[in-house]
Structure formats: structure tokens, C-alpha cells
Symmetry: C2
Subunit: 500 residues, 2 copies
């Protein structure tokens, strides 16, 4: 067998095991009966063990190197080889005993966190979190014996990202957003949110949001929408990219922006060019992924022009809203108000929630704070950055699932995604012309086409920063996002836009 064929055949097994496990996890979140959890955990653990053993086998390593020898510079095969080698080398660095201990600690951590959150008692999570932190510090040391521990964590979610890059980025964001948020507060303007509130029948919410997703271009022939506690997007193959949602009966925003967000992820996955069973057949990183979800959610879904198209459909679904105008709706979708909970935060303050976590995580991995200090450090960081302080640990240090799952270094990808989103949207507008005029007609195909061509089709062929430059002609910067956010604060709250 030709070396590249052998390599891709073995990699296809890796892909099949990953996608197969993803189906089992999707089912776990959607339809699995409660008593199925124990057996499901065993099946997933067995698949993970088989995948790991095949991943670090000499068989795969040899096949990668044999393919490397025949790969021409700049070829698709070279990109496949480089990505496969990166993943395999990373996996091989983690000792089996550590991998097992991590899986067990994260599984136990999830249970402890759920319990602690319910009881609003950090003490119930403390030991479990301390163990997860310790093991992840060991993991970081195994991955980068001589490097920065937090960089090793960041690299897991957005390859090549470093703490040194992120510090000035968050500083730049904070330097503009902190005074802007203060100015919004000082303006005394109180946004009327009632246009987005009321009573919304869940079945009608599903119909309306599904219609929006389909209009965006999300293919239900190769996807579906199901209810879960936490919405997500998951892929089992290019023809099977599923999204999930949740709703509130008294507010349309969680359902609508949740679905637009996940459908944005879904459009990326449905548009990936390279075969999904190859090493480059998926998104290039979590930041780029988040850019796609945020683009549809924020740049499209919160715009007045989108609502000029959507409003008649919205009113048809919810006749109580008869007479509501896009102009009256828009402020309710673009509030700016410091709050305690990240997942409920508005677009402007959201990045400060991420900045808070970044500050805490880098201290934790630098050994500058202990797990016992986290509740107080959390509250103090929120007070410093957002001017709010939680009265319950459930609204503070216990609010996110990430640390319980051992996902340290994940949060910054949310803000990287926001930056990329704004920069891509700016370029798309420059190229496509009057996007607002298209949105008013419910014409989203040109925008999707631009994203397909400049982002989706490439899969993992190029790293995030290179792909941003290719698509926008500029290195990634905070400018477009800050322009977008200050412009919105100006329109909604009358806050003057600071001179650049």
C-alpha cells in the first residue's frame, strides 16, 4: 500500500473512534435515560483507551513518517502529516497513568462541582479541584518540560497561543472597555428589554429559531436540533453536524441567540473542505470556531437589518408582538451592563468575564495562588474588572463547568473568537458591499459564501493566525471588535466614541 494511503487509513480509524464517541456523548446529553450513565461511562472509557493505544502505536508513528517522506512541500499531504505528528507527539507525552488519573479526576470533579454548585459551597468542590489542578500541572510539565505551564494548557485549545500574546490583548481590550462600560453606567440610560420578553411557546420558539438557522444556510438534511441543558454543536461526519438548544418561556434571547450561535458553529463544520476522516478535516482551532458562532449570533443576529427581515416571522410566531419594530427591538439585544454570570453576559462585558478567568488561571499555573484562595480571588477580580461581587459561590467561582472538566486555558479562546469575528466581518463587508441591505431581504448566502471561501473550506490546513491574515489581509487585532462595541454603546446609550 502506498505510504500516504496507509497513513490516511490509520488516521481514519482515529477519526471514526472520535466521531463514534461523539455520537455516544450527544446521546448522553439528549436522550439517554438516567440509569444509562454507568454503562455509558464504561463504553466511552473503552473507546478512549482503544483510541489512545492506536494513537501512540509504532504502527501509526511509522505510517506518519513514511508519508512524510513522500509528502511534497506545500502539499495537502504535508499539512496532514504535520498535524497528525503534532497530535500524536502531544498524546505520547502524557504517561498512561497520568491520563487515567486525569480521566478519573475529571469524572469525579464533574460530580463534585454539580453538587457544590447546587449547595453554593466551594468546600464541596475544593479537594476535587485541587486534585484536577495538580494533575493538570503535571500534564503541563509533561507537555512542556522547560516551558511555561499555562502556555502548555493554552496550546491544547488554540495551538501556538501563549500567555505573552494574551496579556497585551486583554490589556488593550480593558483599556477601552472599562471606561466605556463606566460611561454607559454614567449615562443613566435604562434599556427597555420588554420587546425581547413576554411569553414564548416552546414549540413556536423551536420553529422560529430553526427557520432562522435554515435561512442562515444550516442544512437540516445533514443536521438536527435537540434540547439539552447546555447547548453545543457536535460533528459525526460532514453529513451529520448536530446542534442543540435550550429556551426560556419568558425571553426569546436564550433560544434565538443560542441557536444562531450553535448554527454558526454548525455552518463551519458543514463547510469544512478536507475529508473529515483526515487530520485536517476539521476546524483550525477553538478561536476560529468561536468566531463563526459569534459572527452569526452578534454581527448578524443583533443587527437592526437582520430584524427587518426577521420581524414579520417573529410576529407570525408570537402574535403578542404585533406592532413591534426592529428599531425598538435592537437596544434590548445590545445592552451593556456588568453582571456576575459569563454565559448571561452581554457582548461588551463578556470579554471582561474572560479576562477575569485568564488572570486567575495564569496565577494558578504560575503557582502564585492556591486552590483555597480561588473564591476570594474570583470575587476580587470581578470587583476590579466589572465592579460587581457575587454573594453566592454559585454565581462566583462555581459558575463554570470548565475547571471541573480540567479545561484550563480554554476561556481565552472565547475572546480570541470575538476578535476574529469582528475582523472577519469587517473584511466581508468591505468585499461584499452593503450587507445590511442583504440582511433586510433575508439574504445570508453571500456572507456564508465569503466565510466558506475564506475560512470553512480550508479546514485545518492553516493555523488560526495565518488564516486570519489570509482572509482579512491583516494580522489579528482588537481594533474591529472595539469599533463594533463602542459603536453599539454609542447607538444604544449615546456614549461618545473615543477618538482613536
Amino acid at each position: 500500500m502506498a505510504p500516504e494511503k496507509r497513513f490516511l487509513e490509520l488516521w481514519g480509524i482515529q477519526a471514526d473512534l472520535a466521531y463514534g464517541s461523539a455520537v455516544l456523548q450527544w446521546d448522553q446529553e439528549t436522550y439517554m435515560p438516567p440509569e444509562g450513565a454507568e454503562a455509558r461511562g464504561k463504553i466511552l472509557a473503552t473507546l478512549a483507551e482503544i483510541k489512545h493505544a492506536k494513537m501512540v502505536s509504532s504502527e501509526l508513528k511509522d505510517a506518519i513518517e513514511a508519508a512524510a517522506e513522500v509528502a511534497e512541500a506545500g502539499s495537502e499531504l504535508e499539512a496532514q502529516v504535520l498535524e497528525a505528528r503534532r497530535i500524536v507527539e502531544r498524546e505520547a507525552k502524557i504517561p498512561a497513568a497520568l491520563a487515567k488519573a486525569l480521566a478519573e479526576a475529571e469524572s469525579a470533579g464533574l460530580v463534585a462541582w454539580q453538587n457544590a454548585r447546587k449547595e453554593a459551597d466551594f468546600a464541596l468542590f475544593r479537594d476535587s479541584l485541587a486534585e484536577t489542578v495538580k494533575l493538570n500541572q503535571e500534564k503541563a510539565a509533561a507537555l512542556a518540560p522547560d516551558g511555561n505551564a499555562y502556555d502548555a494548557m493554552l496550546d491544547l485549545y488554540e495551538a501556538g497561543t501563549t500567555e505573552a500574546q494574551l496579556v497585551p490583548m486583554f490589556e488593550e481590550l480593558g483599556a477601552t472597555l472599562a471606561p466605556m462600560i463606566q460611561a454607559v453606567k454614567d449615562s443613566g440610560v435604562v434599556v427597555d428589554e420588554s420587546p425581547a420578553q413576554g411569553h414564548f411557546d416552546p414549540v413556536k420558539q423551536q420553529e422560529f429559531t430553526s427557520m432562522v438557522a435554515a435561512r442562515m444556510g444550516y442544512r437540516f438534511e445533514g443536521g438536527r436540533l435537540d434540547k439539552t441543558t447546555h447547548p453545543f454543536c457536535t460533528t459525526f461526519g460532514s453529513g451529520d453536524v448536530r446542534i442543540t438548544w435550550r429556551y426560556q418561556e419568558d425571553d426569546i434571547r436564550p433560544a434565538l441567540y443560542g441557536v444562531m450561535h450553535e448554527a454558526g458553529h454548525g455552518l463551519y463544520e458543514q463547510g469544512v473542505g478536507p475529508d473529515v476522516r483526515t487530520p485536517i478535516g476539521n476546524a483550525t482551532g477553538l478561536g476560529m470556531h468561536e468566531s463563526q458562532s459569534r459572527l452569526w449570533e452578534n454581527m448578524v443576529g443583533r443587527s437592526e437589518s437582520f430584524w427587518e427581515w426577521a420581524m414579520p416571522h417573529f410576529i407570525a410566531a408570537f402574535p403578542d408582538k404585533q406592532g413591534l419594530t426592529p428599531a425598538a427591538m435592537q437596544p434590548a439585544l445590545n445592552t451593556c451592563r456588568p453582571s456576575l454570570i459569563r454565559v448571561e453576559a452581554d457582548e461588551a462585558t463578556y470579554n471582561l468575564h474572560v479576562a477575569a478567568r485568564f488572570e486567575i488561571e495564569r496565577k494558578l499555573f504560575a503557582g502564585k495562588v492556591a486552590v483555597d484562595d480561588l473564591p476570594e480571588l474570583w470575587d476580587q477580580t470581578y470587583e476590579d474588572l466589572l465592579g460587581v461581587r457575587a454573594t453566592s459561590a454559585s454565581d462566583g467561582v462555581l459558575q463554570d463547568i470548565h475547571w471541573a472538566m480540567g479545561a484550563f486555558g480554554y476561556f481565552p479562546t472565547y475572546t480570541i473568537g470575538n476578535l476574529i469575528c469582528a475582523q472577519l466581518f469587517e473584511s466581508a463587508k468591505a468585499k461584499l458591499g452593503d450587507l445590511d441591505a442583504m440582511f433586510r431581504e433575508g439574504e445570508f448566502a453571500p456572507l456564508l459564501g465569503w466565510l466558506r471561501e475564506n475560512v470553512h473550506q480550508h479546514g485545518k490546513r492553516y493555523p488560526t493566525h495565518k488564516l486570519v491574515e489570509m482572509a482579512t489581509g491583516k494580522p489579528l487585532s482588537a481594533g474591529p471588535l472595539l469599533d463594533h462595541l463602542t459603536g453599539m454603546a454609542n447607538r444604544v446609550y449615546g456614549v461618545p466614541v473615543a477618538a482613536k
Copy 2:
């Protein structure tokens, strides 16, 4: 590691791969979007290849033999070793190239069959079926080089069953049922089926049938009910046993008896005693499995006493049926009328549909007929046994999915199941007393308890025939089923019961 621990650990991997694949297949039938089929096929093929490779590995073989050496006679470990050895030896007999060719032929066969059935044109299925038959004949030769080819097929679904056992069984059934069915026809009685017909809202059908399943004892905390084209029961672990259903809006019978049938299978799976990740942690065979589904569907669900409990619930769900009595309902559930389609056949004629397939399959595997002869042989056999002849191949030789999937030797397990069902029910009645009095009160726990104790808890510890004898004190015979069917024909059609 102790030999038995090592053996069960390796077997657990087999179980996890099987249950994991079952989840993927369940999703394929319930929620997978149409474009997901291609990727799903690849994932399932990869899991099957991994499972096969581990099944025939020297690692597993050595572990089984090491465990065999420490297994005491009559112990649970001995039963585990014997079953594991049987399965592994069978799998090892199939050459890898043949296994691959079979999987491909069956996959192609399914598509060809669906197409041929839609077009009612056997010619579109002919080549594919010929290939599947040829490969299964090779499989039979590989499994039993010196034995009867059809016995090798039968053994796949009901271990130890032979053609020589089945010939007199079907003869005995035919000798009573053929004249009984003729007498029913001659009686001139036409059953009024309108009590089971009308308009039944699908949501209400789901609520009513789910309520019945729960009352039978099917645990929804460890199960669920979803819609599929063909109903089935599937297991992913002792806490996750799912059933599926379909409905007709104008007839309650497909939904109700479909759900009772699948819930009967589900009760067996939910009640298996040995750990489901061990070789004996499932049903002892397809015949015993079918006995459980048929027992709840036919012995319970079609009885007048069941309807004395169920009728108020039925009327509450479907107020059109106000005034309907159990006595008026019962004949509509116990008709006897030769028909063309097995899955729509009544309880009495059903076994003649199976007998027809048994006759055809044994001729096919004896090389006495060719694939080209099948359409005519099918129609002639139906005319001989049931007195009806299809005018379309879709209602004749193309009606079942089994041959397209390469499942030759499967059909007889349906009739074995009917025999076991009647014999078990007779014994349960003898032991528990007035079951009808219990049914009238909706009390099914005593019957389920008896089945749990005498069948379910044993899992695969004993072979089918031994388990029947243990439970009923007698070898399996056709007597109880014939008594049941002739008794029903007597009550519904007034046909005299022949002296034994």
C-alpha cells in the same frame, strides 16, 4: 492479574464495542439525518473491525483458556468460559476476506432490496441476493465443514437448533393449524374489527401504550420509547434498554401490540442477572427472547381480562370508544385469517408464514432450488400452506428484510418463541393461580416476578431447551401453543376443539 479477572476485562471490551455500536445503530434508526448515513457506515465498520481483531486475538484466546483452568465445574465462571469459547471459535472460523465480503454484500443487499421492494421487481434484487446466498453458503461451509449447511445458519440465532428438530415441529403445528384455519374459514363468521379501528391521535397512542408498558414493569428510568420504521428493542447496558414503536392513525393494534411486544423484550433485558459486560450477561437465545415479547403481546395483551383493566384507560385516551366492552374488543384482537404479510399476520396463521420460510430456506441451503426459483417457490408455498397467493413480489418474496441482511435461519426462532411462550405461560398460571383475576386489576407484577425468577435472572447461563425444562418441568413441545390457538378459535369462531 487473576486469570478470571483478565478474561472478564478483555470480554468487557467486546461488550463495550458491541453496546457502543448498538447506540450508533439505534441513532441511525431514530434520529440520524439522511446525509449522515455514509459516515455512520464507516464508523460502524471500523468498530466491527476492531471488535473482530480483538475477538480472534491470541490475547483473548489465552485469557479464556487461563480462566478455563481455574473454573470449577458448575460455576458461573465455567458458564462464562464456555460461552466465550463458543463465540470466539465461531468467529475465528470465518476468514477475514469472507467476513468483509459478507458485510459489503449485506450492505449492498439492503439497498437493492429496498429498491426492488419499492418497484415490486424481484429482478432488481436477484443478483445481490444470489451473492448474499453464495457467501452465506461459504460461511456455513466454514462454520461446519462436514455438517448440514442450514444447521450452521440456524445455530447462529438459536444455538444447537437443527433442521432435523424443526421438521417434525412444523409438521405437528401444520397438522393442527391447517385444518383449524380451514374450519375457521368454513365457519362463515366475520369478526367485527371496528372496536380496534377508528381515529387514534398519535400523541395519545404514545401516552396510552407507554402507560401499559410501564404497568407491565418496563422501567422508563432505564429505557425509552422512540419512533422508527420497524420497531425493535436494543440494549446498551442493564440501565439502558430502549424500545421503539410505530403507529397507524386508524388502528390501535400496530402501536399497542408493537409496544407490548418490544416492552416484553425489554423486560427480559432489564431483568438479566449476570453483568451485561460478561459472556452470559444477555438473553439465552432469540427463541427465548421472542417468547417474552409474544407472552406479553399475545397471552396478556389479547386477553379479555387485560382489557377489563385497560378499557377505562383506553376510553380516557380515546373518548370515541365510550361504551366499548372488553368482550366486544376481544374478537378484533384474535382474528384468524390467512394473509400475505407475515408482520401483519394474526397469532394463529403467523406460524404458517414461518413454516413457509423454513421450507424455502432449507431447500436453498440444500442446493435444491436456485435464487431464480424463489419468487415462484414463495408463491407456491404460500398457496400450499395458507391458501393465498401474492399478486406483487412486494407482498411475496420481497416482503422481509432478513435475506437482504444475510439472516438465513433466523425465521424459525419466531415460532420457537411462540412455543416457549405458551409453555411458560401455562406453567406460570399453574404456579400463580388465577392470572386473569390479577390482570383484571392491572396486577402484572406476579407474572413478571415469575418470569424474572425462572427466565430473566439466568441470562445466558443455560441453553434455551434446558431453561425451558427448568422453568416448566417439561421438554419444549407444541401442545400448549396449540391448546391456546385452538381455544381461541373456538371462542371467537365457534370452531370445535379437536380431541387430543
